[in-house]
Symmetry: none
Subunit: 522 residues, 2 copies
């Protein structure tokens, strides 16, 4: 059996409280989902958000290998000509091949929200789908509130999707928009619908009853071949169905071939990557990919696990790129270091003691909260420093930052730094728009005469994540900085309980990476 | 239909990475669960943990109104006399009336972990149950790995629970110990078992496939009358089945009368209370009780919700003691401001110039990067301050933070603050793990004698987001802080180009919200 995956992290996921994507964020997530092999990536709702229009414009230059981009919108409004309807026009203007429109399947909504007649609603659905089809689009119909509608008035709910089918919909997606439907009902209703509709069916569920994943799997078992969800289950209220868990269950429990085995192994990394882009912490206990998902406490369980992992593990963690955690030290990881070394042209022998040493140091850093997956430039610097592959471009001695606020006056930030470059001591100070900016300014001031190419680079992104939130303001902080020059962009990282120190580490790496890169070119 | 609830937060929940209960913690949670009306509270494993022995001793003086305490352990060891077995003896020594013992239902475990014969395992089960029954105990048998065992060898798995039945077990609980079973399998297997066993059946599931709640509900639909789980789904790896969601689903979706309607309204408060005892942050998106569980973004949804809440809510949030949150964002207009005002008991006239002024000021702040939908407490403070609805609890005058790093020494952060409280000038200083922590410490130091209830609150989350990333280190920064006390959690916000100033704003709001909340209670 084949099931196709439809990701709506960029649209429904963006409804999560606290998530707000920039256009470059959306582009990066799109590329990641494409490399995972997601069949459809819903990029946004061009009618509702100017940022989404910009995204679809920029996305045209992407060369996606596996995915089709989809734009989201609604059927035409009541009593409007379909070719004059603003939403429909905006959808076509996005120029993507796959368009998804939602329409109402619950008579309560038709009456109380649309305030139109049941018949006009059916026309809105059929005409909108039909019009998009006539413009050559692959058209997906999302039947909003289908399950609630079916429970209230099965006949009318069915008529709405039959209208979409008459319009020529390529997929009809049954939505549990409010997330209140029990698994048993989802299964029964999908089975009933399947008897009456020929178009391939999809499922879109929400987690309000803590059943979104189970409901999705049940819908597939009842005949759905198209699955909508979001990475890590992001979404409004209690979230959407979590595609990470759905993919894992489909592949490992039902043997449904929705992504390749190789991609499955990328699942953990992908989950972290998207969380990072969303500026969210990945839950330790997230099924399949969380850092505690295969963590066993010492004692009976660990003992049994060492006899046979099946005794306390429902699956092999490595199949999704995750790993078992026992309270004894880990041994894995060597191959990924070797892989990275090869990438950056470092010769590293599998058996050399140096390899082991670097690996140990890296694991130590990752344990402290460094997350090199998101900061390749820092990883490269770390490995090259460990192997003494370059001479450091400067040596930091001291820094101090003073932030001061006096009654109604504007806050000020001043940084002082002392460093050695070419054996010369530089001692400079600078003001800034904040403490990190002041440090940045002071660092550039100290280095600019020695390394004029630094003028070419600038910082393009700056992300801050609190790691152990429970510690409140004493928590460890991870700072990611993206820098860019004329030819490249790169990410660097810093971790500390002190946000200024973490920023400083990432700042120094970003400058050092630029200098190293330039020196290697010569 | 009646279903009885069995909570194992104090035993299985305590396996969560990061949770560690003191005996007084366990006593307080027990009292809370009793007042909720949980039928059985599993207090611990007296054989495995000296703390648990102490708990059962102390618990004797508790006057529980609704709950029975249960102690957990295992069947006797292989080739041991049951009345000489250490675990069994320890169980009886706990002197509680309900004893729960687990035994092996999966032949793989019998062979590879117990390393005994299938027949001896059956004897261990029957004799252990029988012995506890003969000592007058209400005896619950947990069939460990029942579902995996049944999938591997249904005949043997059945024989293990028939052995427990012969021993006289009062309940036979089918466990999905590894959490790998799909909902459809749970349903089918429980149905099969039900045909062959007369003892009342229970279900115990884990969340490794993100299906623990759905699996529990399916098991009830197939005939289980006893449900095991933990508060908020705490537990090893991906957690146990979440009793909070199970209770809500049983009561509201299946009409099963497991706790009273009045207790149901205590569910949100209970979830926070237990989270607090566990020193865990309650997930905002937790179904039913999370702070975002009924949060709607402005626009189409809010509009519909105001016409009829059923349109986008699967249930009435107040039935579980939670509340609807309408998120105010850039797009929001006058009506959502009025709605918000009503929520916080502010009288605001639709046509009053004040309404317009507040709206204008709000839009201004949102334009500057404030994001009130994620910081309801700051919004409430803003509105009440604008309407002069309270006197500020303190007035900040100056602050200064110095962050210093000297060669190889550890970085230090020192904050100095000057503020007026009750017309008295307080001038204090404090060190911290970083600049924000230093400010936090100094602020509390200055206020603690005036407002002792501040000791009850602590910060549970701290998010930093860079707004205009392209500005690099000079970018504007948005800081969100979540705070929690015994009954609530709330988010506050600060925005500035200076991360320290942004943190300071959010910090001051979080403290002021707590003080305002407490003053309104009186």
């Amino acid at each position: 059996m084949e099931v196709e995956l439809y990701d709506t992290t960029l649209r429904d996921g963006a409804q999560t409280q606290g998530i707000s994507f920039s256009v470059p964020d959306k582009i990066r997530i799109t590329e990641k989902l494409d490399s995972l092999g997601i069949h459809y990536i819903e990029g946004g709702w061009p009618g509702a958000n100017p940022k989404d229009i910009e995204f679809f414009k920029k996305a045209k230059s992407l060369k996606l290998k596996n995915s089709s981009l989809a734009a989201f919108g609604s059927t035409r409004r009541a009593n409007t000509k379909v070719d004059k309807d603003a939403t429909i026009k905006e959808l076509l203007r996005s120029e993507v091949d796959v368009l998804t429109i939602f329409g109402k399947s619950w008579d309560l909504h038709v009456k109380e929200v649309l305030k139109t007649t049941p018949d006009e609603n059916l026309k809105m659905i059929e005409e909108s789908v039909n019009y998009l089809k006539s413009r050559g689009k692959f058209t997906i119909f999302d039947a909003e509130h289908f399950f609630d509608g079916y429970k209230a008035n099965p006949e009318y709910a069915l008529r709405t999707i039959l209208a979409a089918e008459r319009g020529g919909a390529d997929r009809i997606v049954l939505c549990d928009t409010n997330g209140g439907t029990l698994t048993s009902n989802v299964f029964e209703i999908v089975e009933e619908v399947k008897k009456k509709v020929k178009a391939p069916l999809g499922i879109h569920s929400h987690n309000d009853s803590e059943m979104a994943v189970a409901n999705t799997i049940a819908a597939v078992q009842a005949g759905c071949v198209h699955v909508q969800g979001t990475m890590n289950g992001y979404g409004e209220r209690c979230g959407n169905a979590n595609l990470i868990s759905i993919i894992s269950n489909l592949k490992l429990k039902l043997g449904v071939n929705c992504i390749s085995d190789l991609s499955l192994k990328e699942l953990t990394e992908t989950a972290y990557y998207v969380a990072e882009m969303c500026n969210m912490k990945l839950d330790d206990n997230q099924p399949f990919v969380g850092s505690s998902a295969f963590a066993h406490k010492a004692g009976v369980h660990v003992n049994a696990i060492m006899k046979n992992p099946r005794t306390y593990e429902h699956m092999d963690p490595s199949s999704v790129g995750n790993k078992r955690v026992l309270l004894i030290s880990e041994l894995s990881g060597k191959s990924s270091i070797l892989k990275k070394a090869k990438e950056i042209d470092l010769e590293l022998d599998k058996e050399a003691p140096q390899t082991k040493k670097i690996l140990g140091a890296l694991q130590d850093l990752e344990h402290k909260g460094y997350h090199f997956e998101a900061a390749e430039a820092s990883l490269e610097l770390f490995m090259k420093r460990s192997m003494k592959k370059f001479k450091r471009f400067f040596e930091l001695s001291d820094f101090r930052v003073i932030i001061e606020k006096r009654s109604k006056r504007k806050i000020t930030s001043e940084a002082t730094i002392k460093l050695k470059v070419n054996n010369k001591l530089e001692h400079t100070a600078s003001l800034g728009d904040g403490p990190v900016n002041a440090l940045d300014n002071a660092l550039r001031k100290a280095l600019k005469d020695f390394y004029p190419t630094l003028a070419e680079m600038h910082l393009t992104d700056f992300k801050v994540r609190v790691l152990d939130e429970k510690q409140g303001t004493a928590a460890k902080v991870r700072v990611l900085i993206q820098s860019q020059d004329k030819t490249d962009s790169w990410w660097t990282i810093g971790v500390s309980e002190n946000i200024i120190e973490a920023s400083w580490q990432a700042l120094v790496d970003s400058v050092e990476y630029k200098l190293l890169k330039d020196s290697e070119k010569k």
